[in-house]
Amino acid sequence: MTLAYVPRRVAVAVLQILGVAVAVFALSALLPGDTAVVILGKHGTPEQIEALRQRLGLDEPFVRRLLTWFGGLAHGDLGTSLLTGAPVTAELADGLATTAVLTGVALAVIVPLALLIGVTTGLRQGSRLDRAVNSVIVVLDSIPEFALGLLLVALFSLRLGWLPATAAGLSGTSLATHPAVLVLPVVVLVCKQLCALARQIRIGVAEANTAEYTRHVRTHGLRESTVLFKHVLPNAAGPSVQQLARTVDGLLGGVVVVEALFALPGLGSGFVDAVMARDLPTVQGYALVFAGTTVTVNLLADIAAYRLVPRHRSAS
């Protein structure tokens, strides 16, 4: 007997996260450069370096370190940052708020906007509006985030002076009192991630709108609103939900660039800092959070798509 789809898919996701955890740990351990050397700088003597290596457990065999790390993970302990000495979980929690606000606001703009653009152009496939919107989207999609960010800063901050160019000096908690610093980062994220989602929705809507089953209910006199909401959209929904998962993925990649660009104290900039400092436990923590989010979002999207496309349910 074949196992039901949802439990099987969840099991796969759990394996994926485990695999990612091992890979992340192994990769960071294989990176050239030694944390002890980095911490002590050029002036550390070989004896001091050796002592520090022992204190940090860096001289233990790989498998043992991996097992210790997993043991901690099971208790929600990701170790302590080599740089600050604070628990890695606390570092993550610091950045999380900023990044969650940034991606949350971006998503809240992207989803309705993509729906609006996708549905209107999909229903008027080939029209002047459709072609115009499509051209704009292709252009937007092809500008890299950092380039778009710099352009916007040059225009709105430096030339016009309407919006702050950077959040430097602000902590995560004070962002709430300065919402203006979020505007440009969100705009950059939205412009990039909106495109693929709007296009996917447009294709799905256009296909369902010209399908024979749609023409059939139209000729039998169904109201246009019923045709749209009950016949066209349900068929466009499955692929669009999966594209939405890819959008969230893209946002996570995007925040690394955008936070670095605008000096926002989030997960992205924290990740970059940790990598630069070879702060192994922290790098591992960040990688785990990013990978875990990706796996979870894709899991949810797959299950949603599975529910939305009835044919999958008996085909699998």
Binding site: T2, E212, R215, H216, H220, G221, N235, S314
Partner: protein
Amino acid sequence: MNRPLLEITGLAANAVGTRLLDDVTLGVNPGETLCVLGESGSGKTTLGLAAQGEHGTGVELSGSVRLRGLDLLSPRERRRRAARSRRIGYLPQHPAAVLNPARRIGSVLGELAPPSHRTRERRRDAVRRALESAHLPPDERLLRRFPHQLSGGQQQRVALAHALITEPELLILDEPTSGLDTVTRAETVDTLRELTGAGTGVLLLTHDLGLARELADGVTVLRGGEVVERGATGRVMREPAHEYTGALLAAEPRLPVSGHGIAEPDPSPSVGGLRADGLRSTSPTGVPLLHEAELAVPPGHRVAVVGRSGAGKTTLARCLAGLTPADSGRIELDGAVLDNDIHRRSRRQRGAVQYVHQDARASFDEFRTVGGQLARTVRLNRGGTRRSAREATARALRSVGLDEATHERRPAELSGGQLQRAALARALLAEPAVLICDEITAAQDVVNQSELLGLLREITERSAIGLVLISHDLAAVAPLADEVLVMAEGRCVERAPTGRLLGSPRSTVATRLVTAARR
């Protein structure tokens, strides 16, 4: 005299460079059935769409189509919609395409019910009545199904229920019985009679002469987009004025009055061939589809598998071919056991059992030439050079009556009948011991149908290939079959030499099939 319900005058339809319809004039009165007879490719479907003011992409309509005097070809979409609003019910030829894959059967039917049914209960009643008129059980489980969970015949009846639930003044039916078994077909005829009795006008587009005879008040014969003959049904059937009508009538399959005249097969049980015992199969959702089905096809023997739609005929065929692995049971070919799953059969074993699909168009890749696709079968099975494969392909195409030029054509350039022949040629190139034909004549007009069956007879007579003919149409396959296997609800209910079955059917299912086939 009253104005006709539907009035078509001087209708022409043009696709890029091709004339699909030319100067077609006809009228349908309330309570009247007009049958438009024609082979596939005669323009029936274009006419059916035009009669509701619709057309395929790239098709231009001219002339006049009026429904109760209102213009259905008005360039303004709003006006067209208002003119036909809920007055027309349409059953297309390929009903699967009009069922929304993402919606449950019941909820779409509920939406299509006339808006005058305001309450939930009244809607549900309307749905129930429409399903009953379309001869589907109005039970909750069917209403909660999605289109892909239905058999081809059930999909056709759901589409008919779509057309009926709107309570239309005009019903346009494009080949309404092509996927129906003989019993359901007879029931559908009764339903349509009731509807015309209540004042509905019916425009019936079909190649089924029997259906025309039973239902139509008038017949219009369409050929190549032109009307070649029109008149009262009785007159046209008795003394056709046009030679084409005569040819159509001559090609119709007729069931002999008694079992005599059909040769009894050699009763000695021959060894070898395909045997299957105790086949069981269950759908992914747990519905049992086959119970202990069995079948034997000695070399050169022709077995027809008949039954109502949903009886398990296709499941049996797919189990034999290994496409749907049977849950249990044993399949043997010439004494050697075949695995139930095609993936665990050797290449030789796969070639030995060939399955030909009902929908030839779906079984070809639309982007590659027919010859290229056939040659691939040859090279997969026998290896050899490109040239030798090409020669074998050309021979195979000739043997099914297609010319050399077919080799370079793409599926879209061939008619349904020609493609079905090409599919047969492809199956033969695999050098099969058994050929399984699943309703290969169902979507064909009478001329194509009799030619295809003739071709199958020729193939089985000049070789030792065993034939399994899956069909809902006993009348069509009986003349060819040595033996008939009757299926109902996943079981083999009766198995007998054709002559005996037609003369004295034992089970009630077989009796009903034989009676319905004689109507």
